[in-house]
Symmetry: D2
Subunit: 349 residues, 4 copies
């Protein structure tokens, strides 16, 4: 092995796509109004809105995913109302208690593949009307999930139906939504998501941007007063132009989904090689996050050359690892990784 150490830790290890750098350069001395009312933010919103005709959504840009989640959730809920999340959900355990600090309980639902369905969340209806219980009022799902899995249109529609029947809001965390849209066989469009959910986000940070998430709100009650929640949480940037400009570039000619497709393609190449080597996965791979189960011996050797997270110990000899690719992952890095894993596998037999 060489000394070169490449990171498959996450999809935010690099800077941003050249188109964004170019736009920053070109506009740097143009004076703009602050706090999200600049020409670039308006252009970006128009580009996104054009992908969801008739949705009449309010679109805001914020600087990060945890910020987006906590503002959306705390703005939507009264203090006794709770948000329902898969145990693997980002808001549960990966955001340092941001939702609870904003005053709300996260109702945790155990899952196997990161996804929720009606049968899993229905038991929470037992709490309804009991003054001693929090009242579930929002369903939080991620797409792609924290395990890289995706919802199809039928599944999302079923959750949407449930939520509308019971007066819950449906919030889709789209930190990796471009990746979900780029998955082979995906049948969901942005327009579908706008129609089936009440609020969702589109992540820029993990999909070619420097930073930034778009918050797309379709439910009228969630739109009302959202700007104050942004300000109050420190999310209304003086130079909102920095966020708007990035999303303008990312939504120009569908760039953001193209970048996600590149990331997925890199990951799936690695996935196919891993499968061929006979290793199982925690969940079937389809997007830019892979969770193969490897021998500890192999993991230790790979770790000398590559950066990645060990997800969880599976048994005394094996662990699941997380491998993530981004829009910027070079094909050569993937090829090298496959070659190294192949060598290590052969050496172990």
């Amino acid at each position: 092995m060489t000394q070169y150490q490449f990171s498959f830790r996450d999809d935010y290890s690099e800077g941003c796509h050249p188109a964004i750098l170019r736009a920053l350069q070109e506009t740097t001395l143009v004076q703009q109004i602050g706090y999200g009312n600049d020409a670039y933010s308006i252009a970006a919103k128009n580009l996104i809105a054009a992908m969801m005709p008739g949705s009449n959504a309010d679109i805001h840009f914020v600087s990060g995913g945890t910020q987006a989640n906590l503002i959306v959730i705390s703005a939507a809920l009264r203090s006794f109302e709770s948000v329902v999340s898969a145990q693997t959900g980002h808001i549960n355990g990966h955001e340092a208690g941001a939702v609870e600090a904003s005053g709300h309980r996260v109702e945790v639902v155990p899952v196997s593949d990161g996804k929720l369905d009606v049968s899993l969340i229905s038991p929470l209806l037992r709490q309804v009307g009991n003054p001693s219980s929090t009242q579930p009022k929002m369903l939080y799902i991620s797409n792609t999930t924290e395990l890289g899995t995706v919802y199809n249109k039928h599944e999302l529609a079923a959750l949407s139906d449930f939520c509308r029947t019971h007066g819950w809001y449906l919030f889709l965390d789209g930190a990796r939504l471009p990746s979900a849209l780029a998955v082979d066989g995906n049948d969901l469009t942005l327009a579908d998501i706008a129609e089936l959910t009440d609020v969702f986000t589109i992540g820029g940070t993990k999909n070619g941007g420097l930073l930034g998430e778009a918050v797309v709100i379709t439910h009228p009650r969630l739109k009302d007063g959202f700007i104050y929640h942004l300000k109050q949480n420190g999310a209304l940037l003086a130079k909102g132009r920095v966020l708007g400009l990035q999303f303008r570039e990312l939504f120009q000619d569908g760039l953001i989904v193209k970048l996600a497709a590149d990331a997925n393609e890199r990951a799936m190449g690695i996935a196919r090689a891993i499968e061929k080597l006979g290793y199982p996965f925690v969940v079937p791979p389809c997007s830019n996050q892979l969770f193969p189960v490897l021998p500890n011996r192999v993991i230790a050797r790979l770790a000398a050359k590559y950066l990645f997270h060990t997800w969880q110990q599976v048994d005394g000899q094996h662990a699941a690892v997380r491998l993530v690719t981004s829009w910027a992952t070079p094909v050569a890095a993937c090829t090298q990784f496959i070659a190294d894993l192949t060598d290590l596998t052969a050496a172990g037999q």
Copy 2:
């Protein structure tokens, strides 16, 4: 007058300094660890720390000023402890109740020039020990203030003494601290501020950056656990590198203070012209924010060509306006503004 409309509304109407754009370009494909542990953030912290030898400060970068203020204040205070602010303070009335939403009362002190002193804040000691009252525990000041005025070393030391005597934290909001450091006759250094306060910020957004504030913490109790507060408030960016890189550039060879000096110089040029025309100021000008009192007739004419805020009506015929320059304000824009104001003044006589 020409059709060209120039903005003196604020110091965040433009993008960022070319050095930052160049650094973004150069580093964009370099992989870095996320959440503030990247090489650029570390380099930036070292550059800042070098200006405050012996201070042993913890330095964090966040995306905006309201975010910095609310996290610093809410992290420092217990729920019954309050923060003392000038009525003109940014946290009082300009942040949509962010401090109150985090559970704390802002004790408001009327001021004439944006500055607090011991005689103004001492009356709050009457609340100490009364279970029916909030307990003042932090003093919040801004430098430059929201009126563009500055504290000198003697004044800051007096407030620091008071705070240490009474067990209050002293927090200096430095959204425009580079401007204060660049004021003619300023005798405060970053090292002084680190010594005299318990926590302060250094604004990047208004001083050449795209976005970002440095939070500098010297008090051990405020350092403890701060990283969790950052995460919980959505302030720990996945690509913390974006903030770190900017501060690395801004603190390279004192660039940030040079840019502030340029902004101040532009403003003071305008100020001297305004004085010469015989107009008074709300407070004596010294930094990049001017608050001249002009006839409404003149204001209306200027507003056709320039953007600026009307601060407050002074009497039936006059109002104070706010004129702000930035590192990017062209000398030509200032010259033209002076010429226009001179013409309008002559026409009115």
Copy 3:
């Protein structure tokens, strides 16, 4: 003077009216459902409701005034919405920041006599729609006020009109509402208050009860989910019967207002004597709280025999004191106080 030391400090220095003790005795072994669904609470609500025909109010009983205020206010407001209060208002400065701890700003309005009117609160409309400002959404008034003054029907109607025009809730803190209803010349009924406000309280603690405040809600949006707010704030007592039973007794045959009338009468007797002795008042006395201005010398002598609060220093020689009577204040104590004050006054001449 004798050694006997009598307290005019407040109206909660004694236990409770004998009718309540008798009812506690009679019912103690009767089993009842918990959490406010007991027969006594239902009977009490019916008695109160009968005084406000057609109001369709929801009535809840909680254990204290600060608890009532903080739950009503925090249940009504979104995090960026604020409550407007007179500077003398109980929620401003007498509740240890309870409102702010629940996440809301108190907008403070200076007053001379404890009362608000439209001209005093109108300036807050300037904040409406500004994303940097909290949004006023509730008006908080007290009746009697913290200075013992009262609103008449015309005044309350004017505030009610303003609130309805601007979409604010009107909340009347009635910790001493029975005293207000018993004031000579009062033209407000409970039915008027139910019609003109959106939510109000009726204090039991200061009006013959051991503890307890009734919260009366007429606005549908404030009714919704209130039970969860009660539970979540620890205000839903297992033995809600203890509160219900007291209010059943207090509202039997108008007992609570009779007790308040007794307290007022005692205070007004003292007030007339003080006036006769030539001492001024901070505000004209009318209820069970008096704020006479006395020489410091006299205050010092009185303090050897009576307990009372010194309200504020008026000048080097004089201070305002607060004298409060309750339903249980003996006439003899008032007579003795008047005699002592008369003696001290004569001695000083």
Copy 4:
């Protein structure tokens, strides 16, 4: 069966012990200082303190259990710190999200018998130091637990050791602590609990009082500023005397534990009869709460004559019910219940 319907729903269906009524009667016209500084509260604190020599505890009285829990927990924790509870813990799911509304996550640990031990809570140490995770800082246990089980001295000492090793606070919810102290074979004293925990409560509501819980704080950091937290949460009653007087009576000659012993004895009489009839229990009974598993047919018949909660369905034919006795439960009611259950059992065979 007769028409008489007796309630075994809970231990707060009756009023209070005659000694309390007598004391209320005797003291009702005695003037006392408000807000917990009255002579009765002081006497009550002295009586409690005398049972924990050397503990140097701060003692406060509040009106209810949820209020006690939420104030203790929110006063102790910083926003990113969490409290660890058994899934059956009262704070988890029975208090409408009070802890979360105060800004803290409840870390939920599945249990079989309502009790926690070191092996169950140790996995939470994995979160320590991870900025994406809440930081466990307090362990919450109940004694008796919500399933009527108790901790012995050895078990409590083990949890105490763990907490001190890891810098966690140990909080014992004693809403039914008198019942635990009165359990046959109990080896824990109040002095032990004061030594082994950092803060605990003693419930009055469920043990002969009208309302009220004592909060006993031994950890210096938790004592500091607690009075402000009480005030801010509306827990500092104007007539604190009402709470103090009850605890004075309840701790006179150990009355509170005698009452709990009576309640336990009634329950254990029923328990022995149920065992004799061959019915199993969810957990072995020892205190005043029983969880027998009965046939649905029997439950339906009993429900016509007695009030009780159905705890959970066990299978298609059986459910666990909760039967609770109090200090006021007549022996005759227990005898009748046993007779009825015996008849119904015989009829079913």
